[in-house]
Amino acid sequence: MSLLSVDNLSIGYETKNGMVKAVDGISFSLEKGRPLGFVGESGCGKTTIGMTLMGLLPDNAKILSGSVRFQTQDLVRLTEDQWRSVRGKDIAMIFQAAMNALNPVYRVDDQVREAILAHRPDISDKELNHRIRELFELVEIPYERIHDYPHEYSGGMKQRVIIAMALACQPQVIIADEPTTALDVIVQDQILEELRAIQSKLNTGLIFISHDIAVVASICEDICVMYGGQIVETGTRKEVFSSPRHPYTKTLLGSYLSLDNEEHIIIPDMRESADLTLASGCCRFQANCTACDAACKSDQPTWIDISPTHKALCCDAGIIRNPHD
């Protein structure tokens, strides 16, 4: 049984111009020990998914339909009090350290300590200190630095603390939202290496959200490519990266700069963002799609299977089935 399964989830934001559907009917499931990656450009709905799984959506957001199954409960129906006992304990989030994710006026160890105490208020001092030491060892922060304030840490160290904080209560699901985006490549690599090691050691469920396909590829077994609030292609890492089928996935991979494809790099000619006000269920990529025809405007895209694990959402099965287009 899956650790977490999301079925037909739609989320909208109430704006002055009406309801904007940021997430439109997505389904996926997370398996233990198989990190799941969400990749897509800014505004595609990746972070909204992460926040939904934490019950931290802003006030103007509304879950329009769908369910999120975790253990025996549907997270969509939880009350705020029930959420409080899930957050940090069963599902935890790793935030981006470059943002002010650590409170500047408290010492880092106290902030991690607080995460444990929130769910285990009766833990003994001895056990608590032992756990703190264990966590900081896990993320490789020297013990003598744990009483420092966040501003005394480097970006990489702050990110490690945030990881330690997320691991504090041994959650079953960890959601990492752009955890390495603001770090330089060397530190980024170290943090990813660490995340990978921790993930395989603790064998937790990991959802990794990033706009950086290389980062997602390096850590995730399964990939969901998102565009305009929809998952447009999903498959194993190998399937998505070596044989992309959806036109958007091809564009995304083609625009990625690497030393090998220097000559074949495609600078995509795309609108800045997807039109989220389109009716639900229609193809959001049509305005930017090179293969778009009249049928795309009227038809609803359907899931086209390529393999048992690999599928893409499109109106035109021919395009999806033919890998060499």
Binding site: N100, A101, N103, P104, V105, E114, M165
Partner: protein, 323 residues
């Protein structure tokens, strides 16, 4: 915090104070009005007048007067008040305590209440409670002090007769052998109206400041982090948001204490509170040069020291600031 920093700060204060001292000296020599006419009886003969002028050192060259002025300051000799005929230092000493008592009490009470109410208002942003609190705070903030003080005095003191019209003590209670408790209650009874005036006027600005500061802190990422840990809303509000949000209020408290002597002159005048501010108004309008000069110096000193205290307090409360 390093001792070195505090030392450097003291030197800085000394230098600024010296500059103010010098400016004051020249300002007083430039100001219109004649000190002689205030202390010297017009019936005196011109010879006697000249004698008095030379006794006060006013016939000496300016630079020599300046040196004497500095020497007197260093030795703590501020001269004798023209009006009272008493050493200025003694008059100031008597008045300062009353001013400090009134203003520190009012400022701290207002700051505590303002921080707490501002926090609650921000937390309930957009709700009825927030609207009522914000608008009331705005009204308090824009109140014209003399008008409000007179209104309070007229209604509570005169019409209702609940509180005395002015002063700090009832002489009959203090001459007789009343107990300390009775004297204390009498003092508080006198303090209520001026305290209320200052409290209400300060409260508005602290509340608005705390509210806006809290609102911006609530948008910070560490508030989401705190929520993600599963902390209760009360812990998030009081521990994670309020401590960060209260920092700007501390600056404001320091500054308002710094300007309490001159800023509170009107309140002191209306409630005949025997403090420095009222003495300053009196000294200026009566050309009591030595007294006015000492009052000005005191204001400068209080501003400088209050700034120093705010700096040190900040470093203690905000770990990001080290000196």
């Amino acid at each position: 915090m390093r001792l070195q920093y505090i030392l450097a700060k003291f030197i800085e204060i000394a230098v600024i104070f010296f500059v103010i001292l010098t400016m004051l000296f020249f300002l007083f020599r430039l100001s219109p009005g004649d000190p002689i006419s205030k202390v010297v009886d017009p019936m005196l003969t011109p010879e006697d007048m000249a004698h008095m002028i030379s006794q006060m050192g006013l016939d000496k060259p300016l630079w020599e007067q300046y040196v004497i002025y500095l020497k007197n300051f260093v030795t703590g000799n501020f001269g004798v008040s023209f009006h009272y005929g008493e050493p200025v230092s003694r008059i100031i000493g008597e008045r300062l305590g009353w001013t400090i008592l009134l203003f520190t009490t009012a400022t701290f009470l207002a700051a505590l209440a303002g921080v707490w109410l501002g926090k609650v208002a921000a937390w309930n942003k957009g709700k009825r409670m927030d609207n009522v609190m914000s608008i009331s705070a705005l009204v308090c903030y824009t109140l014209f002090i003399p008008w409000f003080a007179l209104l309070l005095l007229w209604i509570m003191g005169f019409k209702v007769g609940l509180f005395p019209l002015g002063g700090v003590l009832s002489p009959e209670l203090w001459v007789g052998d009343s107990s300390t408790l009775v004297k204390l209650l009498d003092l508080i009874h006198h303090m209520v109206l001026p305290l209320l005036t200052l409290f209400i006027i300060n409260l508005g600005s602290y509340l608005l400041l705390m509210r806006s500061s809290m609102l911006s802190v609530l948008k910070e990422d560490y508030i989401i982090t705190a929520r993600a840990k599963g902390l209760s809303e009360k812990v998030i509000r009081d521990k994670h948001a309020a401590k960060n949000a209260a920092l700007p209020v501390i600056t404001s408290v320091g500054l308002s204490l710094a300007f309490s002597i001159n800023g509170g002159a009107l309140t002191e005048q209306i409630f005949t509170w025997p403090g420095i501010g009222r003495e300053l108004i009196f000294a200026v309008s009566n050309n009591d040069y030595p007294l006015a000069q000492a009052c000005f110096l005191l204001i400068a000193l209080v501003v400088l020291v209050a700034n120093l205290i705010v700096d040190l307090l900040y470093a203690w409360l905000d770990p990001r600031i080290t000196y």
